[in-house]
Amino acid sequence: MKLQLRKISFRLFLLLPLLVFAVAIQAQSDPTGKSPATRTYAITNATIVQAPGKVLEGATIIFNNGLISSVGTNVSIPSNAEVIDGTDLFVYPGFIDGMSYTGAVQPKSLPRPDNLFTPDPPNDYAGITPENHVIEQISVSENSISDMRQNGFTISHTVPYGRMLPGSGALITLIDAENRDDLVMYNDVSMYTQFVGAPGAYPGNTLGIMAKWRNLFRNAVNSKQHSTMYASNAAGMQRPTRDRTLEAFYPVVSSDKPVFYNASSLLEAQRAIRLQKELGFALTLGNLKEGWDLAPFIKETGTKVFLSLDLPKEPKAAKEKDKTDEVKHLEERRMEFYKKYVTQPVVMQNAGIKFGLSTMGTTGGKVKDNLITLIEHGLSEDATLAALTINAAELLKIDHITGTLDAGKLANAVISTGPIFDKESFIKYVFVDGDKHEYDKKEKKSSSAEGSQAVIGNWTYTVTSPEGVQTGTMIIREESGALAGTISGMRGGPDADMKNLTFVDGSLSFDFSFDAGGQSVEIVVVGTVTGNEYDAEASIAAFSISFPFTATKDEGK
């Protein structure tokens, strides 16, 4: 009997780990039912563009547990695979965004500190926080993640919002994640910098920013040298004071970490180049919009570059019949410059420059239209695809894991119903890290002005600012399917265009700028419309102030 018992307990003992295992499995189960039944997929009989110019017809690609396990025309399909019939489908490598805010949430602007000593503000107000990391601003529920993914992007080099030196960028994978850490592929891959001054404090504009950059860099050189000497032999040497801001520069000083300069304009790019020539860091020009004259320099120096996908609107010639020759000429010249913007990638291509693209300043919905615009202006489809995939991967040094559809690389792919840059095709699936995201054909966007009749018309507004009560008029109209408007000047200034004008679910918002002694000040107005009344708040982020803004719609027309 005794023996029997012992036997049983021995058997129980053997069962114990199994029980634990069972519990563990239960813990991993997904009561929401969202988890896929399998992480193995086979897209069969598809046109597979492994890399620009490398096309397999009637081929199959297998994704298994987040990686491409095989691709080709003679591939056996695993029994546990979900099979997607790829007949009429086109498979491309997932797109890579060279520089964007995708996934990041813009933090509330810092209030102006009391008794701010403007010549030497605290670093966070000055916008000098290179020691920060973008991960702190990332939110898994940020719309831009799914928005960009739906338009083909699978990886983004995301940089933080802020001013002169907001912090480091990270490579994030555009998956649905529960925890923001899950999004980060590589943290701290770049030092992000831009020409944005602190409102009313040093450095206030490009002048101070350039000088501050030099000063920080040269002190970082000294500080790094001091720290290195101290680390090797501290005896008899002053102890170096710790400075996280300067320490963030150390890998930049040694060219181990690239500096990503948001240099959208020609002059900004030239200034970034100027600093690079003086100080000798590893420069990447990001968000470049006006770089056509810089192609020889970029080629010669091997400077890395991500061109902006945020293209200007095509200018429209006035319709008047009796246009003067002068107006005609001015329209032609404006068109000449529009063409320079949309042929920038062609200029780079012709100069033999390998470039990527950056979506900063644009939205997912505009990506395809803008890519088609570039192609219509001479960029080959292969070059366009290269910029979105393999070139971006090489520039970001992740071409060993992504950028092409080769076995062993990440299962990041875009699958469209036709050649991807065809106007009629649409993206049906996007795979990120082997997870399937499926999309239906987008309904033709209904006019955004639809349902906006409630706000179209003439309004009389009243602003109660610390300067007193002012009134003026704003006119909201419909223009080619969207809302547009003008607002009469505050402080007696000229009329301003209402920008980012939206009316959704009774909420009307817009912004406009006015000129304060040569410097543009932006006012954002957000509020609700009830009948003919608009009750809103106007805020000036630059001064961290807001005040009531109300308006009444004029009866009649």
Binding site: T118, P199, T206
Partner: protein, 459 residues
């Protein structure tokens, strides 16, 4: 000997790189023969029916019956007047920012960083015979940023192409109402003229301490020495003390002009030009004794309290007292007819033709330290000149052609209406206006932001 002095290496590398930048920016140099013009040489009187030969951007010969080498363009200037290119010693065109007004000493900033080669005002100035300008920092702070001497080589989108290569560095100081207004708006020093002087003395005293700290460091034989903090602001102030940077100080009143000369005497700084200097005529002998120069308006005043006590005789009085004087524009419109501004000194003060023309040519060149290169028509100097149809001191004179380095940048016969080299494709098309009221306020550009803030927070 083997000691690894990293800082020296860094600075040498930076210098080398800087040199490389200058060498890279290859500006165009031209060859041309100007025939039979009346040459207003400024330094050697007027030469009638004389030729001027330009080779590789320099004046290679001045004389009669010169022959053009093969292929060199000949310009017939019969009955016309050739003047050295006009130089504006005080301008704010071609800059995207003017003031870093957030701090009252910003010696570390430089207009070199914000040169805007796309500014259409450059072409307008060239059409008015101007070939070089002093692109100045604004007057919002006591010690503003470094200025940048530019040649108006219109047409390039590269800021480096506009730099006056080899010109000495200059810096902007400001006295009186503008910097004290900024100080009061921010609740920082200086809020009075006394505060301005105190700030100047403090800044230079700090610079002396900084200079000594680095001198001690360099002299230290210890291999494990630790460098003092690097400060670009102090580096610049030390260079001023060492006479390597020429000071151009915004000023109006005689008392503040005299104050700055006393401060500079105490610190041994010699290279000084007063800008605006509407009351300089009151201290003209003192300026001459110090060796200070003055750059003034012909007849512009009364736009604020400190600028009421003014006279159109200012330039003439200074000139007759031996003060090297220039007339500047400080304005995107006035810059187009500086020769008229110079002519006013003949009505107000009876200056000779050469004296009047020197106010906008050789004298501003001296104030910018570039008179060995430009400012007069002499063999070996840069071929920067303008051809007028009438004598430039005549009300009827109109510039016909403007050359810089022997390259023609303006020709009235081929002057297309639209000279812009950069256009915003999203801009709306409006009636083009030459007069832009904004230009009149450039001196306090970017500085008004805080002024506005001050207003809004005024409970």
């Amino acid at each position: 000997m083997k000691q690894f002095n990293m800082y020296k290496t860094i600075f040498l590398t930076a210098l080398l790189l800087l040199g490389a930048t200058v060498a890279q920016a290859q500006v165009k140099k031209g060859d041309v023969l100007i025939k039979n013009g009346t040459l207003l040489t400024i330094s050697q009187g007027t030469m009638e029916n004389t030729d001027l030969l330009v080779k590789d951007g320099k004046i290679s010969k001045i004389g009669k019956n010169l022959k053009a080498p093969n292929g060199v363009e000949v310009v017939d200037a019969s009955g016309q007047f050739v003047l050295p290119g006009i130089i504006d010693a005080h301008s704010h065109i071609a800059g995207t920012s003017i003031n870093e007004g957030t701090s009252q000493v910003t010696a570390e900033v430089t207009m070199e960083d914000v040169v805007n080669p796309l500014d259409i005002s450059i072409y307008r100035a060239v059409a008015g015979g101007v070939t070089a300008i002093n692109l100045m920092h604004g007057s919002a702070n006591v010690i503003g940023g470094r200025n940048e001497t530019l040649k108006l080589r219109w047409g390039s989108t590269n800021p480096d192409d506009l730099r006056f290569e080899g010109a000495p560095r200059t810096i902007k100081f400001a006295l009186g109402e503008n910097p004290t207004r900024g100080g009061r708006a921010r609740g920082i020093q200086p809020q009075s003229r006394m505060g301005v002087e105190a700030m100047l003395r403090n800044a230079f005293s700090d610079a002396l301490v900084y200079k000594k700290a680095w001198a001690d460091y360099r002299a230290d034989k210890n291999k494990r020495k630790v460098a003092p903090e690097y400060d670009l602001r102090m580096e610049t102030l030390v260079d001023i003390l060492d006479g390597k940077i020429l000071v151009h100080s915004h000023s109006y009143r005689a008392d503040e002009i005299y104050m700055l000369m006393k401060v500079f005497t105490d610190f041994g700084i010699k290279k000084l030009t007063f800008q605006h200097a509407n009351e300089a005529y009151k201290v003209a002998p003192e300026l001459a004794a110090f060796g200070a120069m003055a750059s003034v308006f012909a007849d512009w005043w009364a736009y604020k309290l400190e600028v009421y006590y003014s006279t159109a005789y200012n330039a003439a009085i200074l000139t007759k007292n031996g003060v090297t004087t220039s007339i500047n524009s400080d304005d995107g419109e006035l810059i187009r007819h500086l020769f008229h501004e110079a002519a006013k000194t003949q009505k107000y003060g009876d200056l000779s033709d050469d004296e009047a023309l020197a106010l906008v040519t050789l004298n501003p060149a001296k104030q910018l330290g570039i008179d060995h290169r430009v400012g007069s028509l002499e063999q070996g100097k840069d071929a920067d000149f303008v051809i007028f149809d009438k004598h430039p001191l005549s009300t009827y004179a109109i510039p016909q052609r403007t050359f810089i380095d022997g390259v023609k940048y303006f020709d009235i016969d081929t002057d297309a209406k639209d000279q812009r080299i950069f256009i915003d494709p999203e801009s709306s098309i409006e009636v083009v206006q030459i007069f832009n009221r904004e230009d009149q306020h450039k001196c306090m550009d970017d500085a008004d932001l805080v002024y506005l803030n001050d207003l809004l927070n005024n409970n």
